[in-house]
Symmetry: D2
Subunit: 340 residues, 4 copies
Amino acid sequence: MTNKPISFDASKPLDFVAVGRLCIDLNANEINRPMEETVTFTQYVGGSPANICIGMSRLGLKTAFIGKVADDQMGRFITGYLEREGIDTSGVTVDRTGAVTGLAFTEIKSPTDCSILMYRDNVADLKLEAGEVREELIAGAKLLLISGTALAKSPSREAVFQALDYAKRHRAVIAFDLDYRPYTWTSDEETAAYYNLAAEKCHIIIGTREEFDMMERLGGNPTRDDHITAAKWFQHSAGIVIIKHGKDGSIAYTDDGASHRARSFPAKVVKTFGAGDSYAAGFLYGLMQGWDIPASMEFGSAAACIVISSHSCSDAMPKAPQVHDYIERCLKGEIAGTSS
Amino acid sequence: MTNKPISFDASKPLDFVAVGRLCIDLNANEINRPMEETVTFTQYVGGSPANICIGMSRLGLKTAFIGKVADDQMGRFITGYLEREGIDTSGVTVDRTGAVTGLAFTEIKSPTDCSILMYRDNVADLKLEAGEVREELIAGAKLLLISGTALAKSPSREAVFQALDYAKRHRAVIAFDLDYRPYTWTSDEETAAYYNLAAEKCHIIIGTREEFDMMERLGGNPTRDDHITAAKWFQHSAGIVIIKHGKDGSIAYTDDGASHRARSFPAKVVKTFGAGDSYAAGFLYGLMQGWDIPASMEFGSAAACIVISSHSCSDAMPKAPQVHDYIERCLKGEIAGTSS
Amino acid sequence: MTNKPISFDASKPLDFVAVGRLCIDLNANEINRPMEETVTFTQYVGGSPANICIGMSRLGLKTAFIGKVADDQMGRFITGYLEREGIDTSGVTVDRTGAVTGLAFTEIKSPTDCSILMYRDNVADLKLEAGEVREELIAGAKLLLISGTALAKSPSREAVFQALDYAKRHRAVIAFDLDYRPYTWTSDEETAAYYNLAAEKCHIIIGTREEFDMMERLGGNPTRDDHITAAKWFQHSAGIVIIKHGKDGSIAYTDDGASHRARSFPAKVVKTFGAGDSYAAGFLYGLMQGWDIPASMEFGSAAACIVISSHSCSDAMPKAPQVHDYIERCLKGEIAGTSS
Amino acid sequence: MTNKPISFDASKPLDFVAVGRLCIDLNANEINRPMEETVTFTQYVGGSPANICIGMSRLGLKTAFIGKVADDQMGRFITGYLEREGIDTSGVTVDRTGAVTGLAFTEIKSPTDCSILMYRDNVADLKLEAGEVREELIAGAKLLLISGTALAKSPSREAVFQALDYAKRHRAVIAFDLDYRPYTWTSDEETAAYYNLAAEKCHIIIGTREEFDMMERLGGNPTRDDHITAAKWFQHSAGIVIIKHGKDGSIAYTDDGASHRARSFPAKVVKTFGAGDSYAAGFLYGLMQGWDIPASMEFGSAAACIVISSHSCSDAMPKAPQVHDYIERCLKGEIAGTSS
């Protein structure tokens, strides 16, 4: 599939470990209206790597999480939820400095007009320290996922680099979900610097065209050419680079020079949140099953359709039979709706 | 009533202006359980001076607010609510620095075991600047209310001192609701310093025994004697000092040497939040009607009973006939419950 | 002299205690050139209240200092110097947080073109805490001097208010040398707020017209009228307000409605630094001798002439006979030079 | 010499460019005593990369500097000095945020007991931004030197990574002088993280055993073995790793498996400051002349002897004939003294 074959070490006990953000989504119960008119909210576990980890666990993999939660009711809600999902939380530490849990209030004005009101000041997830990253969890895992938000501030930033160092040392495959969110970052230059340093060490890189543009802001790709982007990372560690072009779909580039596009499916869209996370979970699950890239992408697309048709992100992550069933029903034409 | 008679200038167009905290309460819908098991929340306007101002407006007074809200959906929710309550919001400015709205998640484990999870990092209400305090609002008001939380940080702290300066210049009566909350403050010494500087300028001071202890931490009243506390403030501007002793009730000291205790009423307590704010609104309303101190205290107590029997603080603030009716029904023995 | 007579309690053992800034002056040895061409510097103790305290001690008074120094060679240099000058340093604490000593590199391009390059980040003097202000030093002193720079930041700001509280409690006379320096302060509004709160409690206030303008920036004296300025403070605690008008000389206003101008003396000016500090020391010394205001001002002016004729500030503070001698020689016409 | 031959591109117009710290040394004029007894100081340009760049220029190379200075007399002193030394300062920008020039007061109690009092709060050199690093200067240079101190804080840290990126793109040789100084850094974990990320990209790495220990604190070399240290970097970009063992001398490891020790010379030591900088300048100069590693090390050692025999660091950097002469005189036994 790729010259630099991405192979998962079957002898390792854990399939998947994610490092990074754990937070709370507060989803407006009254949808299709501005948040000013919202009066009640429902609480879910959130954060891109948390969602992906929950997704992987639902798909039947053995998973663990490395992160930090606040020493309060919100923090305990998060840890409790992960444990009930079967995720190993021995790598989730508790902040003792008075940090709070990150919040994301979601506003759904219409299926295509969604926004988020973030609370990211003094959040516990960015307090994870390098010394708190448990080497044995990474040593025992086939696949490590990192997420860009965790690079936004010290000491979480150094914890991510420490996790990368352990993964390299123990030959875990590393996936990088760029997940760039402008708040929390101080400057574009800072953002680009650490995204690039991290990406150099990763085998699978997944992001939007705009996220890759941000990483290339100080030169090298003025025409925003996907092939130049992918080629840069193939010179380092990467074997697969997935670049998402919004409505125009995603393309997976591989270091053998090939590129792949996957079929997309119709969906009854409630909101767009969570699409990327469920896609990543589905795609990585496919790769770990030994499927080829198009099949893995297709599985990711179907998983995304299921999530965006529901009210939550984490809580809507599908099990494998649900995804297979969704694909089948789409192929039979049983599901109509906007194409995702 | 007092030697330093607290008289309201009848020629002024506005009855009441409050300065300080505007925030959001997110009250757990599932009560009598820990917040870890809560999944939905209902949103209300909150913050002690906001609650008192809403209370005064419900009681029929002409009111205004001086404060600052975030430039987001939460901020617009607050301003919209105040306006619908008939409060003049021309003194409410909008932050442009990316500050957020303060949040208070309430947890009601039982009527007597309530706690609050606060989000107070980078909040808009503490960004109010001295230059944004509208002198004409204070010049036109009979009574200014300040609240201790607004003293916790610059520039809000200086805005409060500016409001006090305008009130002195235009001979408004000044009430100080101590409302001390340890988060946000850097040190006890800092807290005591600014509480004392502000209290020197106020005519009516309302607080718990513990709040006055905090103000006296660097000497002067080792036996925690109410009379010493009150006497200190009578040497400055105060004519009335109300010291709350929890279950043992409140005592109002006046600078003629008298002290007053008010009757308390039974209540079916849902939660204890909001008791102090509704008490303050009721008491100040009574004073402004020309009632004597015991009658004003009684009215405040009854208003507090109504609020603690309901799910919210701001939204439960009663109208005057409701309070009179409550007192009457208590006198007739129609209301049983825990005494407030 | 004033209606609110400023009388020093003769029974108190200490004449004078100053609270505030202790720092290092590094004076260019090569003068009359830009600092870019300077290669060697000589080190002196500096800081306005330190200079005044050294001046008072040289004049023969019993003095003490309340402040904080860095835990390094510079800090020990300062404490050692004060002790050798006979100043009680039991109120000088040592920072343990890694703060540094404030530095002032002076540049003397010409006698009338002097500037200062300040190092004021993370300085020890602004780390003095309210709890470190020794009540017994203030209780035992006839006169307390505070200086505006110490109000610039917490916790030093609260330490000054604590010192004022002790001075009020123990009936010490309080002098306020405004000494406003824009660096360190966050905003003009913050500056004005705390200067005003402090000045309300002081008996003697000394500053430039521009410093008083800064304090009146939020209204009350649009025509910058000295009489309005002085009258405001006479409503609070002040009996003497000295307003300096640069080349046009200083005027002392007293709360009996009088105003006084003092004779000025010629001087061979080397640099202008230190003029205000030596003036303050001389003037306050005169008052404490029971001299009338014009005599005290004259003594201050002569002391200032001596300091500006030399290379340093602190180290050049004169003894009383030197000042008397200077006045005498001026009267005899033995000293020519620019008028100070 | 090494498998990964370190070859300098002769077609490039510039020999050497350094990026990083520019500051001021204030050297006590009264030596062999504690700084508390010092009263005068002499000012020199300082900062490890500045010293090395001055050294390279004195040795006859074409040099440039990339850094940032304060907008004050100290900043202009630095830029002026560099220019007079023939260093291209087109890459030296001027801070506009009110940052100050870093200061290092040196205390020489005895030739072997020297210490430094640093002023590093809010310093201009750490404000250099990635966007201010001039690509053309690095593109045109044979050798780029980075220094660890510049990694201590954003945005300077990202500027260094940007410089490394340009150097890689334009195939400049990269030397890393570890120059670890604990102040300024927030935590050991942060320090190790960025030192390692930078070192991965460098061809020549020079540091003390303790500096390499700090980089290996999270595992990999518990016995502090030089060969393990060197081998790690040979897996990345390095061809030469020099590890300094204090009195036991320095060892240069090369990626062909060899190691080299150089002769040391006697010196009349005044102070130890500046030894490492002059050594680095001499060694890199030797390499650029095409000398073998032992000869280059010897030249570095002799340059260091000259600097530690004098009062300053930067100002004492020798010209090439001086170094050759020093070596010759040592060989003839004309120079006695402590061995350096």
